[in-house]
């Protein structure tokens, strides 16, 4: 008999907890399944009236007019545009403030500023929507008079601001977790703070930084109210951010809070739009996984 073979009780925390934890992890799978199921079920009914091909290739999205046209391309374009411009705002600004907080700011500044920035994450999105409309848009119109009342740029800027705390806080945590010894090694050969930050800390914290980018961008893709209020409800194929556009999410909220009859083709279109959005985020995530697995550097040793 091997003296080291002491059987663990089935109820020992060490044996039970992994199963419990796995159980909790499965919630996210169940959630995804439920979402896909709900979206798909209604989408199928929708696609019995509208051809899948027309839906994904159509260039006109006029689902609620007397002669409806279901071409989802303009909505996808709107979503891509908002995501693109908001990430132009949020990624550099978020990363910049993360670097500032973790590498430059004195401890006291950091402990005060970080929670202040985090308040930005809790402001209801309609507040942001009105902020975009009544504060940012007028400024844009002063700078570029051709700016429309509803425009993608203003919404993007504000969506970008909304996701700043997500990026700055999470990136900052990741950077704070980089061991001091690494920084010391860099300082000792005469690095400036900037070089320590950019060449040592950011690469070492890359996994966390990328994770924060993905979360931030996902939020931008899924953001609804700001876009619905400030970017307008004008599905069109346009690459001009100063024009009004419509995103996938704005359409979903427009219809789901509107007076349309449930079960009608128009109504069901939101499920098809939802599935489209789901596919887009999936693609984005797979891409992000690929990128981060390529650039990840471990320092766990």
């Amino acid at each position: 008999m091997n003296a080291f073979k002491r059987k663990k009780n089935w109820y020992s925390s060490d044996r039970v907890m992994p199963k419990v934890l796995l159980g909790f992890s499965l919630i996210s799978i169940l959630t995804t399944f439920a979402i896909v199921f709900i979206l798909l079920k209604e989408s199928i009914t929708f696609f019995s009236s509208v051809s899948v091909y027309d839906f994904f290739t159509g260039l006109k999205w006029e689902p609620l007019f007397a002669e409806p046209k279901f071409g989802v391309v303009p909505l996808i374009l709107g979503t891509v545009m908002i995501t693109f411009f908001s990430s132009i705002v949020a990624l550099p600004v978020g990363l910049g403030s993360a670097i500032y907080l973790s590498e430059y700011a004195p401890d006291r500044v950091r402990t005060i500023v970080k929670p202040i920035l985090e308040i930005l994450a809790g402001i209801p999105t309609i507040v942001y929507g009105f902020f975009a409309l009544t504060f940012v848009t007028p400024i844009l119109q002063k700078i570029i008079p051709s700016t429309e009342v509803f425009n993608a740029l203003s919404a993007s800027i504000v969506v970008g601001i909304m996701i700043i705390p997500m990026i700055s806080s999470l990136s900052e945590d990741a950077m704070m977790a980089v061991p001091r010894a690494l920084r010391n090694g860099a300082y000792a050969v005469g690095s400036t703070k900037l070089e320590v930050a950019i060449k040592v800390v950011v690469p070492a914290a890359l996994s966390g930084i990328i994770a924060s980018f993905v979360l931030g961008l996902s939020r931008a893709v899924g953001e609804t109210m700001i876009v619905a209020l400030a970017a307008g409800l004008q599905p069109r194929i346009s690459f001009n951010p100063l024009e009004s556009i419509e995103t996938l999410t704005a359409y979903i909220v427009q219809v789901s809070a509107g007076d349309i009859q449930y079960g009608s083709v128009e109504y069901l279109s939101i499920y098809a739009v939802g599935i489209t959005l789901f596919a887009i985020t999936l693609g984005m995530n797979l891409l992000a996984n690929y990128i981060s697995s390529k650039f990840r550097e471990d320092y766990g040793g």
Binding site: I126, V127, F135, M166, S169, A177, G208, A211, T249, T281
Partner: protein
């Protein structure tokens, strides 16, 4: 010292200074925006905040309107959502980071989680309506709303918690395991405390999102006008952002000001809720 070298260092120091200012500026963008928002909101709404604002229900008379129902609704919602989110979120993160082998299952779970982060909140509303309200027959109740919110904000805390678990140096785990601690003890006593700052950041961010979301609650069936305080998990309820949304949509200017007052209260609630997490985070980060 060679002259060009000095110049080079001076140049590097200059770019360091410039970037320092740019980084500071980035930080200021968020703070200034928040400042502008707060000034606007406070200018508009602060005149409406009084004791009555907390003790009255919503009303057709702006001056008699209060946020009692919404305040307690949100309070309840957070009291349910916060622990659920924390437990499920941190558990999932631990499983993925500490236990899961690199199998298809764990990769699948991971993809699911980051994917869920991008699902718009209305869709979570539809989910809550279908699953909790209809399938589980919980009705348009607090618990349905809270469960929906939990699912909505889970990805944020999971991702944040995972990243901070990942950043805990392995030598700490090794030290514990070498003393004969089992993996679970190691996680509970060594890894989690080290990862706590990041986990708490995740909690702050996810609960911030939960407290400000409107659309999913409306879809789940929270009403805009309720003149009572929820008294059980199965009560009808309304919440701060719904009340704010409803007021903001009214034509009368004074309701718009009430909405601003509501936002002030919401932000104070948010800050109050985050305070514990912020204090804990500062404490863990110092050690």
């Amino acid at each position: 010292m060679k002259n060009f070298e000095l110049q080079h260092i001076q140049r590097r120091k200059r770019s360091n200074r410039i970037m320092h200012i740019l980084f500071l500026f980035s930080t200021m963008i968020g703070i200034v925006t928040l400042g502008i928002l707060l000034v606007q909101i406070i200018a508009k709404g602060s005149g409406w905040i009084s004791l009555d604002f907390f003790t009255h229900f919503s009303s057709r008379f702006p001056e008699k309107s209060g946020i009692k129902a919404a305040f307690f609704g949100t309070l309840w919602l957070m009291l349910i959502t916060a622990p659920l989110t924390f437990i499920i979120g941190v558990s999932t993160a631990i499983y993925l980071e500490e236990y899961a082998k690199n199998t298809w299952l764990s990769r699948f779970i991971q993809t699911n989680i980051s994917n869920l982060a991008g699902v718009p909140s209305v869709v979570y509303g539809l989910l809550g309506l279908t699953i909790f309200v209809r399938l589980f027959d919980l009705g348009r109740s607090l618990i349905s709303g809270a469960l929906t919110m939990t699912l909505l904000v889970l990805p944020v805390i999971i991702v944040a918690a995972r990243e901070s678990l990942k950043a805990v140096p392995n030598h700490q785990r090794n030290a514990s395991l070498a003393l004969g601690a089992n993996p679970w003890q190691t996680i509970l006593r060594v890894v989690l405390p080290s990862a706590m700052p990041g986990i708490l950041t995740g909690s702050i961010l996810s609960l911030s999102r939960a407290i400000g979301e409107t659309a999913p609650l409306i879809v789940v069936g929270a009403a805009s006008y309720i003149a009572f305080v929820p008294n059980s998990l199965f009560s009808d309820f309304t919440a701060m952002p719904i009340q704010i949304y409803s007021w903001a949509g009214r034509p009368e200017e004074s309701f718009g000001q009430l909405a601003a007052a509501g936002i002030i209260v919401l932000l104070i609630m948010l800050l109050g809720m985050n305070l514990i997490a912020i204090m804990l985070r500062n404490k863990y980060q110092r050690s």
